[in-house]
């Protein structure tokens, strides 16, 4: 039986949920896994709720449909908790990581699903302090590195470099590294 880990990100257009999925996939690939990542768009507009998915397996991934029973969910914007069922399909022990300034207990109280493990990190603040822009995706990945065993911080750094290296300045890449590391330290459950 293939080992399969399924991840779902909830975000808003412009927050980098798609890129978060790609970076996570590259990091997992670096650790030897087969990967597939893809976004679920509405009309590709900034601020609209969107989802992205990652599958990680020890065998080639052929399935093309969206992730229905995620092992890990990352929420890039806590205002989505009020409008999206972010724990949909999550089983016992699945991991939820939320970008928020609220505590894990406060988040837990808002969820319909009591069986998930909740982690929180103020990824937007981390992004503002390190990158200087409110793009929470890389700090979220740092938090997920602590909350799950999908990919470590070093693999994520390499993935950031591979995915964004051609697009961002070296200073911006370093700022993303710092965001990853700080969120890894600051995430709580």
């Amino acid at each position: 039986m293939a080992q399969l880990t399924e991840v779902r990100f909830h975000g808003r257009g412009g927050q980098g949920a798609k890129t978060a999925g790609y970076i996570l996939a590259v990091a997992a690939a670096e650790e030897g896994w087969r990967i597939n990542a893809f976004p679920e768009y509405g009309a590709e507009r900034r601020g609209a709720p969107m989802k992205s998915y990652v599958r990680i397996s020890d065998e080639p991934i052929r399935l093309r449909s969206s992730v229905k029973s995620p092992d890990v969910v990352g929420v890039l914007d806590d205002t989505l908790l009020a409008t999206e069922n972010v724990t949909d399909g999550m089983g016992e022990g699945a991991v939820l990581v939320v970008n928020t300034d609220q505590s894990a207990d406060e988040i837990r109280a808002q969820l319909g699903n009591p069986n998930v493990k909740v982690f929180v990190v103020n990824a937007t603040q981390v992004a503002m302090d390190t990158i200087g822009r409110p793009i929470p995706n890389t700090p979220m990945l740092g938090a997920m590195a602590k909350a799950t065993d999908i990919a470590g911080v070093e693999a994520l750094k390499h993935a950031v470099d591979q995915r964004l290296g051609g697009k961002l300045s070296q200073a911006a890449i370093e700022a993303n590294y710092a965001a990853l590391e700080r969120a890894y330290e600051e995430v709580t459950s």
């Binding site: 798609k18 999925g21 790609y22 996939a25 590259v26 690939a29 087969r34 990967i35 597939n36 990542a37 893809f38 976004p39 768009y41 009309a43 590709e44 052929r62 399935l63 093309r64 449909s65 969206s66």
Partner: protein, 393 residues
């Protein structure tokens, strides 16, 4: 040796284009193929290709510029989707009639209306009679590989036809996957330098292109154009084999997956074949004699090969990711059942229309098709002529 890297589908297509290094690209970007043109324009700006990039004001102009550049003697490429392809319509026919091996990546998307940017095959199916060769990819690796092969297939002397390399919008164009990317040198060597036949710019040997051609000779010219498609079919097989010999991934007109002893066979094109493989493998574990026939080449249509691959099945389902309005079933169903009839196979065949405008196709949907087929095999006749998957009714 190539290198395994992770790329988005559109990036992989642009990468193949960069490696092929065409003489001319004329394009007008449209979702979900925009990133192909964007990435390629960046390669041009960065001096990574020698291509003359023509930014045009519409898809009609894009294909017109491609036609002109091809007639002049260049290797020419382009990319579009749905409404963009529709706007090229007039010129699509002229490119194939003038036997110009223009290469177009078609990122499949639903045609309006209402406006929808997501995947179905209404664009490609609509272009089925335009005279273009059409290949459909199952995954990003195949999209990359198909584009490279498209060049060699279209440019063979006995073929000289334009080729559409199709991949499912978003499902593949925005899917991030590991794929083997070959070296620039290996790709360029494999596609070989392009030698145009009778280029217009050969001013020592003046030619006429696209003249008035009325009832005196037009029919003969169309008849001679029809002669190009059997060789194109052979070229797809030959180049697929040559590709396999050099790069280790061999391709054909179709791929049979667990069909050898299969009672129940489902036929599909594009990314759905991936999910279908998982479903078929799962059913096999339960003892169901299920199989999949993946159609890679829709044009030229491998009618005899399909009939041969389906011979011996008890029930068949054809999955259409497009509707043919006013017809009694979907476009692929018509072609497949016509092939069965022509080559003497009497097998009950269901048709399913699915996935219009990007509607998701789930493993459960595909499992339900095999459940239906079990009944069809028992009854010896289709459950109903046309079914729908994933539709709210």
């Amino acid at each position: 040796m190539g290198k395994e890297i992770a790329l988005e589908g559109n990036e992989a297509v642009a990468e193949a284009m960069r490696q092929i290094n065409p003489d001319v690209v004329a394009a007008y970007p449209i979702t979900p193929s925009t990133e192909i043109v964007q990435a390629f324009a960046q390669f041009v700006a960065d001096g990574k290709v020698d291509t003359n990039f023509v930014a045009v004001e519409s898809e009609h102009s894009a294909m017109s510029a491609c036609l002109a550049a091809a007639v002049a003697g260049g290797r020419v490429m382009n990319a579009t989707s749905a409404n963009g392809l529709a706007l090229m319509w007039e010129i699509l026919y002229i490119v194939s009639s003038l036997r110009q091996p223009v290469i177009l990546t078609l990122v499949n998307r639903a045609l309006s209306g209402n406006i929808n940017i997501h995947c179905d095959h209404s664009d490609g199916m609509g272009a089925r009679d335009t005279g273009w060769v059409q290949l459909y990819a199952e995954d990003v690796q195949e999209a990359y590989d198909n584009l490279i092969q498209a060049v060699a297939i279209g440019e063979r002397e006995e073929v000289r036809l334009p080729v559409m390399s199709c991949l499912d919008g978003f499902l593949l164009s925005h899917s991030y996957e590991l794929l083997e990317v070959e070296t620039d040198e290996a790709v360029r060597e494999w596609v070989r330098p392009y030698q145009a036949i009778n280029p217009m710019l050969d001013i020592d040997n003046p030619q006429t292109f696209g003249p008035l051609d009325l009832y005196d000779y037009y029919f003969e010219h169309k008849r001679s154009q029809m002669e190009a498609y059997p060789p194109a079919k052979e070229a797809i097989v030959a180049e697929g084999k040559r590709f396999g010999e050099v790069f280790g991934r061999e391709y054909g007109l179709l791929e049979e997956f667990m069909t050898d002893d299969a009672d129940l066979i489902v036929i599909a094109m594009g990314s759905t074949c991936g999910t279908l493989r998982d479903v078929v493998a799962g059913l096999r574990e339960q003892g169901v004699k299920a199989g999949m026939l993946k159609l890679r080449a829709f044009r030229p249509f491998p009618a005899e090969e399909i009939a041969g691959a389906l011979a011996g099945a008890s029930a068949i389902a054809v999955l259409d990711r497009a509707a043919s309005f006013g017809a009694h079933a979907g476009p692929l169903y018509h072609e497949v059942t016509s092939a069965l009839y022509t080559f003497g196979e009497q097998i009950p065949t269901n048709n399913y229309i699915y996935g219009l405008g990007g509607r998701e196709i789930l493993p459960e949907d595909l499992q339900s098709v095999f459940t239906d087929l079990t009944q069809v095999a028992e009854d010896g006749q289709p459950v109903e002529p046309v079914g729908f998957l994933g539709l709210r009714e």
